[in-house]
Symmetry: C2
Subunit: 217 residues, 2 copies
């Protein structure tokens, strides 16, 4: 049984999508929401395996939300549905951490397949899309940066929380007080973050946090 959360800011779209997915065997819709705040809160209580996220036509700021969801719920895969499937939007979706993308020509069967693919730990970007992603990815490899078999590891919610507070210029002591934990624990969290991400200095940690929309510049 695959547990699925659905986001769509358009009520009718949300309803039809929910019904569609709920009717597929082995798929269970555990959450459907039109509101990101609500979605986030509910996800904290009940995790989902997959988030199906309908991208409104306009929006770019939604991709920031996706980044944030991605860091908050690292084990959840995000599948984006979008009417607009231009190169730009797909690349941005990939960058913000989506693991799948379904363009305007996708059908129900594609949706089902995408969810299953994500559930098995793979990415899903429709056939025509794959080559775009691949091309750009290969291009990006030309840049001679060392990435020594080093996957981008994900932070835990708590780690992100600490990073966020620290990024707002709070001292370790202030963070500790706010979260009712020891200063030593705050330090430990920060140490873990640095180890996990293989960062050399706190400066790098700030940069990481900015790049990943964890703190505001």
């Amino acid at each position: 049984m695959i547990e699925i959360a659905i986001y769509n800011d358009y009520q009718l779209g949300l309803e039809t999508l929910t019904k569609l997915i709920a009717d597929i065997p082995d798929f269970r819709v555990t959450l459907s929401s039109r509101n990101i705040e609500e979605l986030t809160q509910s996800l904290k209580k009940r995790k989902a395996h997959i988030l199906v996220y309908s991208l409104p036509d306009d929006s770019l700021k939604n991709l920031i939300q996706i980044s944030q969801l991605k860091v908050a719920f690292p084990r959840m895969s995000i599948l984006i549905l979008s009417q607009n499937d231009g190169d730009e939007i797909i690349m941005k979706a990939v960058k913000s951490g989506a693991r799948g993308f379904l363009g305007k020509d996708s059908n129900t069967n594609d949706l089902k397949e995408a969810i299953l693919t994500l559930r098995n730990g793979y990415e899903y970007f429709g056939n025509s899309i794959t080559k775009i992603v691949l091309n750009r990815y290969i291009t990006s490899l030309d840049t001679p940066e060392q990435l020594p078999a080093n996957e981008i590891k994900q932070l835990s919610a708590r780690q992100i929380e600490i990073l966020k507070l620290w990024g707002q210029s709070l001292s370790n002591q202030e963070i500790a007080d706010k979260l009712y934990i020891s200063v030593r624990t705050v330090e430990t969290h920060k140490n873990h973050i640095m180890q996990k991400l293989n960062l050399k200095s706190t400066v790098d940690m700030v940069k990481f946090a900015i790049k990943n929309n964890i703190i505001e510049i």
Copy 2:
């Protein structure tokens, strides 16, 4: 006597502009260059009161250069000449630290007046432009951030140098070794930066450096 440096990447433009300004009484052109690197080096040896900077039509990265010149030579006022005088470009020029702007309709008299105005410590943005700047400025005031009569102070070249190295994740000791100074001095420089800019934490210092193109994210 006002000492003026001129930048224009177009040779013919540089020559005519230089000649024009040099012919104005009390104005002395001490430097004219088509190359930013050369300009920066020469300015280190001989400071100018005013830099007249001709903005190429296309360029946005030039505005980054202006930011950098501004921090490197805080006492020098930068006057921008630009064929393109849309809202966008003006606002960016202001943000990058230019103290004056002359659009496509300006004449020689305006140029002279602008230079004199800057020399007296004021800003010069042609009449039609002033209201744009003002409007946006007022809008920005709506954001309830505390700015307690606190002007944005400029860093010295040395301070920027330290900030830049530190922003590349070097430790104080490494910076000290690189610059052949004591660790204590590096610390002092950083303290001065924090005091001058009224920053609460090193996190803020990183943010400042990023915002001002001193370090790369």
